[in-house]
Amino acid sequence: MKSRFPKDGRFGEFGGKYIPETLVPAIEELEENYLKIKNDKSFKKELNYYLTEYAGRPTPLYFAKNLTEKIGGAKIYLKREDLLHGGAHKINNTLGQALLAKRMKKKRIIAETGAGQHGVATAMACACLGLTSEVYMGYKDTIRQKLNVYRMNLLGSKVHPVKSGSQTLKDAINEAIRDWITNVKDTYYLLGSAVGPHPYPVMVRDFQSVIGTEIIQQMKKINKKAPDTVVACVGGGSNAIGTFYPLIDSDTEIVGVEAAGKGLKTEFHSATLSAGSKGVLHGMMTYLLQDKEGQIKETHSISAGLDYPGVGPEHAFLKDVNRVKYRSATDKEVIEAFLLLTRTEGIIPALESSHAIAEAVKIAKSKPKSESIVVTLSGRGDKDVEVVEEYVRNIKNSR
């Protein structure tokens, strides 16, 4: 079952590298260098140092007692990636890749960002390690996540608003790739999700797998066994694959939650695995939301971080082999979950992570009290309070 480091970059039929020829030498250089540091003791030691001392690992596995009692089913645990430096799991990957870029002697870092969390995490890692960074962000996202734009600027990163296409994450990736093609010799592209051409999906997964590895250790201490169920939200899918991958060979039930937006039957969602079809975008073969001629569709989600018409190729594979169940949560369910967690536990979750909370609550209801569910709380929700306030106000006004 496990696809550790596929030589051809394929997970079953998914993945691969569909890229302009100019990027082939850069991708090969990246793969070669990644394989070199992957098991290198000094690299691991350095990364561990930064993950512990700078980012704040390990993160707690918190028993959400109030929420559990309120739901009245299985025990709900929260993997608190929201407590990491920067407020999201993204720093696990940006520290890893920025250290790699440094070893590759690349001084200029570029990145894309959706909600801005990966952009912020890139800007932090680069500031900390003495690298310069530039971040591409969809124009629409720079407006709905303007706080993060300001944070990136403060951290010394230059933000490029992208006005092409749907002006969201997909277009930010296009523009980052165009920059990389233009500046291929001295630039390192620090991709933020488990997407893109090989070796990115594997590399990002490996850097994020610290989440799942810690969950296993922490649940063993609490319960003497792995969790019965894990739940994580899926946009590109990096916090999800980091949660799932170390558990792939176990008996744990694994559930990924996509953004159903205004509903799967509408045109306004981002649920690629639930409603998409196979295709090629951003260098990879995967499931995509596309029209009948293969044009990529515009997506919708209340959370900018999940607003993406593709998904990591390993998720596509895990869906097809039925190892992971992929479900979805609507904007409405997400807001309810956001408010529920905020009020019962005093934790404000990111809207992305609130998708996982919404599904976990449904699962918990259907399971006995003896079972345990771990939800990866991928980020904190401070960045989202304005969006939530507006949503709640609109509902009140429409009544």
């Binding site: 302009p20 020829e21 082939v24 296409g165």
Partner: protein, 271 residues
Amino acid sequence: MSGTSRIQDKFLELDSKNEKALIMYAVVGYPNEKDTLAVIRGLIKGGADIIELGFPFSDPLADGLVIQNASMLSLDKGTNLGQFFRLVRKIRQESNIPLVLMTYTNILYHQNYEKFFKEIKNAGIDGVITPDMTIEESKEYLKAARSNAIDTIFLVSPNTDKKRLGRIIRQTTGFLYLVAVYGTTGVQNKIQQYTIDALRNTKKIVDRKIPVGIGFGISTPEDVGHFIKQGADAVIIGSALIKLVEKTPTSKLEKTVTEFTKKLKSTTKII
């Protein structure tokens, strides 16, 4: 090279006349369906040797702003494959000029390579250029192209090493497409020394097995003449044509494109 195609015949014909090829790229459905044909007629009258028909894709990651905008405009106007086939059939009623489809992998994959290559061959397309198709991922793509006698024009870049270049040449038919610059389409700079070096190296390694065309950022008759002098077998013009189309009233489109093409073509003759 086995068998002949319109593209191969064209290069042989030009060779016998001591000429090199001018390849022109137009976006299907830009500025609209009707006037795409006016652009193509202008290109043919002006003496273009091969025409690339760019079928727009929503996410053209190898293209610069000019082609991105033209693609978006075309898609917004409802351009689809039905329209593409209508255009190809119309051109074929009027001309035997070699036609190459340039688009992104997802459009081809979505249609099914085998089925689609058969359909485009029947309509009159001679070759395909797919900027995000690498030789590693090309097994099914090549199989479908070979069985339908569609030329597979692969791209190489100034940073492609000798060994890889050899592998790419083996899968390439029609001509090899050398990307002139580090960058997307349409970004103009003065001609860089690394581009000239890449052209010479590529020509040397190709060793006359296949013609070498050069494109990306080339826009003037002077540039075309310069690259021909440096050994290019073909020069490809795209964004410069689209910019011209953008600022030309539709009533004058065919005539303006004809004149523009004539000027470019005049520099492809070896004196």
